[in-house]
């Protein structure tokens, strides 16, 4: 009797396992069958644009594309920002075609490295490279190239600008916005009001809104490693940047700044909107926040001030690009969709609705022409700033670059090392890592 039960259990278990395997395989076959039966290729497009603002925009673009197509149908899958790229990587590593999406929104600065790692499909034979190169922002285009191969198509960018409160500047006797670091220092000193240990208002502080790294780019228009592979961290310009930042911190007091910063919030509580800070660095989309929550503000916007007259109003941008994960089922159709998304019409729609900078320069220009009043003013300034905007692609030879440099910069801004010591240490570490990789 007992033995009977035992044998019965074994049979049951084997049947269950067999069933599971059968179901997994069958399920996959079924999925691909339905795709074929429509005679349309279904593309799985992964993005992290799931917010109330962005989701309708991206889905409108997809449905416009679908309507124009007889052969391709794009399905949008929203994956949260924190998961999307690890999930994609797991799918690519599994080499299971049914798990791999066809198009994914990737971090533009990681594309070179991921191209080298063969995580994404090379596109030179799939898209019209020359046409794209002709219209794309050169920095963005460069970021998706690795060893003469294209690994993604740039989509959006977000350069940093300086917003300034006209009223607060005028009260201090300034009618023109700042042009150089010296202007920022001088104007800030005049505007800043400190009562005891607390600030009533602050003119400007370099590390509100952006990090030290942006000012190092602004100082000389160079990344830590140039495109020719030269390490340019410990330069006089970069030293000057750190000294300039520390000058603010020393004068204003680190504790007092921290305390002031702790009160910062979103929307109405944003320090620029509540007129607590007169000059503030942010991306162009900050305009929409001012429009929605700070209607009373009389403000202007300029490209980031330069280190000294003539050194250049350099700025930094991140961005996203569209890529085909390695091993995707329908690369050809995916490329068609990507070309549509990078095309003038789609890019204009995205730019207009999100007030984002787009990688397609023709689209950006055309949008600026269409806009009016304040919108136009801000967008035009953003377009100007884009001419001097750098991206920071992860260098393939030193992928760990930021982990090596950031702690040193933090030591400098916390006053634990002099700018010279910190930059020297950072440069040495990066050079050692670079030599080790060769």
């Amino acid at each position: 009797m007992k033995r009977g039960v035992g044998i019965g259990l074994v049979v049951l278990l084997i049947a269950a396992l067999g069933g599971l395997v059968w179901w997994m395989q069958g399920g996959q076959e079924q999925a691909s069958n339905t795709a074929n039966s429509d005679e349309k290729v279904t593309l799985d497009f992964w993005s992290f644009w799931g917010s109330e603002t962005r989701r309708p925009i991206i889905e409108q673009m997809i449905s416009d594309f679908n309507e124009s197509q007889d052969e391709i149908f794009v399905k949008h899958t929203f994956i949260p920002f924190g998961d999307i790229w690890t999930k994609e990587l797991a799918a690519v590593a599994s080499k299971n075609q049914n798990a791999i999406p066809d198009v994914v929104v990737g971090d533009i600065n990681a594309i070179k490295l991921r191209g080298q790692k063969q995580q994404v499909e090379p596109l030179n034979n799939l898209v019209d490279v020359n046409a794209l190169q002709g219209v794309m922002h050169p920095e963005a285009w460069d970021a998706v190239q690795y060893e003469n191969e294209t690994y993604a198509v740039p989509f959006t960018m977000d350069t940093r600008l300086l917003f300034y409160n006209k009223k607060m500047l005028e009260e201090a006797g300034y009618t023109e916005p700042p042009q150089t670091w010296a202007d920022l220092t001088e104007m800030s000193e005049k505007i800043t009001v400190k009562q005891g240990n607390t600030f009533e208002k602050v003119g400007f502080y370099p590390l509100f809104g952006v990090g030290t790294d942006v000012w190092l780019i602004n100082a000389d228009g160079r990344n830590y490693i140039t495109k020719d592979g030269e390490v340019t961290i410990n330069t006089p310009e970069d030293r000057e940047a750190l000294e300039w930042i520390n000058e603010f911190t020393d004068k204003m007091g680190r504790k007092e700044i921290d305390a002031f910063k702790a009160e910062f919030g979103e929307q109405q509580a944003n320090p620029f909107l509540s007129e607590k800070v007169a000059m503030y660095v942010d991306v162009a989309t900050f305009y929409t926040q001012i429009r929605d929550y700070g209607d009373h503000l009389d403000y202007g916007v300029v490209p980031l001030p330069e280190r000294e007259e003539g050194s250049g109003h350099y700025s930094w941008s991140g961005g996203f690009a569209l890529e085909i994960p390695k091993g995707a089922k329908h690369p050809k159709e995916a490329a068609t969709f990507i070309e549509y998304m990078a095309g003038k019409e789609a890019q204009m729609y995205w730019a207009e609705k999100n007030f984002d900078q787009v990688a397609n320069q023709e689209a950006g220009r055309a949008v600026a022409d269409q806009l009016e009043d304040k919108e136009k003013e801000v967008y035009e300034v953003a377009l100007t700033a884009m001419e001097n905007t750098l991206l920071t692609p992860v260098p393939v030879e030193v992928p760990d670059l930021v982990s090596l440099v950031s702690p040193e910069l933090e030591q400098a801004t916390l006053g634990k090392k002099t700018p010279e010591q910190a930059l020297q240490a950072a440069e040495q570490k990066v050079k050692a890592a670079k030599e080790g990789a060769q």
């Binding site: 007992k2 035992g6 259990l9 396992l17 990587l89 080298q116 790692k117 504790k255 992928p399």
Partner: protein, 300 residues
């Protein structure tokens, strides 16, 4: 002579644990063996997997400064947080075992943080630890202490995390409470007759009888402390372990190596080194346990 009935029982026993066995073999042991093998390669998940001998291990020990930084940070955290949370949980349990009025309410309140977990709690603590307006520094201000800039000052970030860990001792407190209840009252009565004060009662009656739970708590919280990751990932700016690498814990370094720069083989060798450390510590604990852990009914 084997008993056929017994053999059938054994067979069925295995059968019943089969789902777990399969799960362990396929989902735990398999990947572990794979990662051991891959730790001797330059595996990056997508483009390569070449055998490179012990290069990952030699790089780790001789060339990677951040490996040592992360190891130091992790040991610092373990050495402080394990004793503090163990003693904290024990004291709390002793206090809540006194039969004071409303102790059920207190037990619930102290246990509550153990139920809450994850990113929400970390964000809450980031607000509480805010240098000027945070609750922690406001409270310190009441007693005249000018609190530090917890998460912004590299000297105070790790203490801040240890403080945060103290908040959730309620989980182990529950174990202590349960074991305190099982200490026979008669022993205390005898103690009282012999004139034992509270310290004698704790040292010679309570503590020896709850040592199995202390031991369990010590082992699990040590292993748990070595696994610290998400706190630093969420609470350091950009998830990089800053400021000045003060929150760069071992597992955060592993994560960054594996998923930011795709040095998966290297990340795996780091993982195995951590495994060896934890294994040795646990073995040592078990060996040492014979000296102080007392099981009722055991012969010495």
């Amino acid at each position: 002579m084997k008993n056929p009935l017994r053999r059938a029982d054994t067979w069925q026993g295995y059968l019943f644990i089969m789902p777990w066995l399969i799960g362990f073999a396929v989902l735990t042991a398999g990947p572990m063996l794979f990662s051991l093998a891959a730790s001797f390669t330059d595996y990056d998940m997508t483009s390569r997997m070449n055998f490179i001998g012990i290069v990952n291990y030699t790089t780790m020990f001789t060339k990677d400064d951040l490996f040592w930084v992360s190891l130091y940070n992790t040991f610092f955290f373990v050495i402080w947080s394990v004793p503090l949370t163990t003693v904290g949980a024990m004291i709390l349990a002793l206090l809540l075992n006194k039969g004071i009025p409303g102790q059920r309410v207190f037990r619930t309140i102290f246990y509550l943080p153990a139920v809450l977990s994850g990113v929400g709690v970390y964000l809450l603590w980031m607000q509480m630890l805010s240098p000027s307006s945070g609750l922690v520094n406001t409270m310190l201000g009441f007693i005249g202490i000018d609190g530090p800039a917890w998460l912004a000052d590299p000297n105070w970030t790790k203490p801040a995390l240890i403080l945060m860990k103290m908040w959730s001792v309620g989980g182990s407190m529950l174990f202590y409470l349960a074991s305190l209840q099982s200490v026979p009252k008669t022993l205390y009565e005898v103690g009282a007759l012999e004139g034992a004060n509270w310290w004698h009662r704790f040292r010679y009656i309570t503590f020896p009888l709850i040592t199995p739970v202390v031991f369990f708590d010590l082992i699990t919280s040590t292993i748990g402390a070595f696994q610290i990751f998400s706190e630093a990932y969420v609470m350091s700016e950009g998830g990089n372990g800053g400021p000045v690498n003060s929150l760069l814990f071992y597992n955060l370094r592993i994560w960054n190596q594996a998923f930011e720069v795709y040095n998966m083989g290297y990340a795996m060798s780091m993982t195995w080194f951590l495994f060896v450390i934890v294994l040795l510590l646990t073995l040592f604990n078990f060996k040492f346990a014979k000296k102080w852990v007392y099981y009722e009914g055991d012969r010495r």
